[in-house]
Amino acid sequence: MSRPLLHVRDLTTTFTTSRGEVVSVDRVSFDLERGQTLGIVGESGSGKSVLGRTVMGLTSTAPNATVTGSVLFDGVDITNPDKKMRAAYLGARIAMIFQDPLSSLNPVKLIGVHITETLRQHDKSISRQEARRRAIELLDTVRIPDPARRFGQYPHELSGGMRQRVGIAIALACRPQLLIADEPTTALDVTVQKHVLDLLGTLCEEQGMAMLLVSHDLGVVAGRSDKVAVMYAGRIQEEAASSDFFRHQRHPYSQALLDAKPHLENPARAELVSIPGRPPDPAHRFPGCRFAPRCRFAQDRCREEEPSLESGGIPSHGAACFYPLDAVRSTKEVSI
């Protein structure tokens, strides 16, 4: 295959806070092909949102943030974008949608203005009428009924699902090649969530757009992504093709994450396998595997050495674990 649309290597985001250095994203690497969707899953504090923002170049402007490593977008290094690059890429070739559709829209601006200003920012030659026409078209693309009327409304006059569609319309304005969706459905009801995910899927397909789908919920990513990466404490713990990943997980954390969630398919009142303890404090790093303190299978080695993301013989299914689950099973059998 030709060079990937997004090529991320050893991306690290560090914040200097009152509690010391916090490494939110730690040496993260992945590739994303054109038109494909990568699901990034993790609990709060795992660094998934910061990862999305760092790829977007939004963290590097914070005065207390340091970004190292590299983000190549279509071969161009956009790791720490300057003003010019920001103007050329953000919103135009890479776009983003946010978790809370209400707070991510300016309460005092018309829905339409949100879209037209994006259009006119990236293409100064568009006339006002043209921008308006395109904005209404975009609202129609995201299946908002009566788009011309919605154009002149304020964000608070729309329902949550409608607002998130507006967010998508804004993101689509300049036909980006990459969409970073940061928990796009977390604030929405489950029926609306399905609509929005369907819409995102359809649009990616229609426009050949790649997507970074960030969520805390494996269920949101399941069936909606080509690849899945599971993050824990700033690092990718497991990365695999979705078809492979949901069949079996190699990292104990990934499996625990799936088992901990009460699924509709499980029998009623089933006892859940819970993960003991809490995620580690990002300001206090310790040696060894980050999941070791909560891991059922942890050995001495896990507490001393940090495993790296390796595929362990199975192509394109990497797990940062010394004793990945396929291996554990066999050792168990041996010990019996």
Partner: protein
Amino acid sequence: MKAAAGKVAQLLVVMFLVSLGTFSLTSLMPGDPAVAILGDNQSPEAYAELREKLGLNEPLVERYFTWLGHVFQGDLGTSMVPPNEDVTSLIRSAFAVSIELAVLALVVALVVSIPLAMISARRPDGLLDRAASATTFGIMSVPSFVSGLVLIALLVNQLHLFPRVGWVGVTDGLGQNLYHAALPVITIALLEIPTFTRVLRGDLVRTLQEDFVLSARAKGMPAWRIMIFDAFRPSSYSLITVLGLSLAQLIGSTVIVETLFSLPGMGRLVVSSASQGNITVVQGAVLVIAACYVLINAGVDLMYSVIDPRIRRVGA
């Protein structure tokens, strides 16, 4: 609509209470107002005549309504102190001075504090922010009579830039008018700049952390554009509130500055009348000032709905 009607009703009640309060000041006055006005050594007839003239022999409530009736016809009575001028015209000329000072001072204050707040908010806790914060904090703690004195010592006595005292009306030429107004205006503005700057900076910093600002950045908008077109308007509520309150307060509380620079404004009118026991003037002035407050308050409420569409379409 119902909410608006309630608001208006409340403001009317406020006006009523203020007028009642000011009016009853006369009866709170220690001793005989007639004695206070005319002095000790007058004939009993003179006192009686004045009392009759002031209507002091009638019950308070009756006097209040008589007075209120006159007020509604634009007649605030006559001054009790010779040359017994018409209170309405006294207040009118003083009011013109005060309002000019207040408005000019607010404009100056806004011109300084809006950019200052924006610069500060861009990098909170950065060098510029800390410098601005320290400066405004220092200025905030200087009473106006002290800052006025310092300005006089510096700009008048040392540099001879401005006149020390006096007032020239607009009718006598705008240039002269502004020349005389400059120093008092700066003094008043100094009083307002710290508050404005701090309030706006605080709101801007909060707004800049909102998701919609992040989303504007994700759209590739330049920082200055975000500051002016995205962050400023939603951040201006507190500023508007403070602005309204200041304007209302300034119309009366330029007392100090007016005294310092001998300007014929409302503040000085009230103070000098009060010290002479010239109660009709005090009453009239307080009433006018309170009316301003009420009007400005209503204006501020209106402004909120202009700024925020969420308030605008209540019940729609």
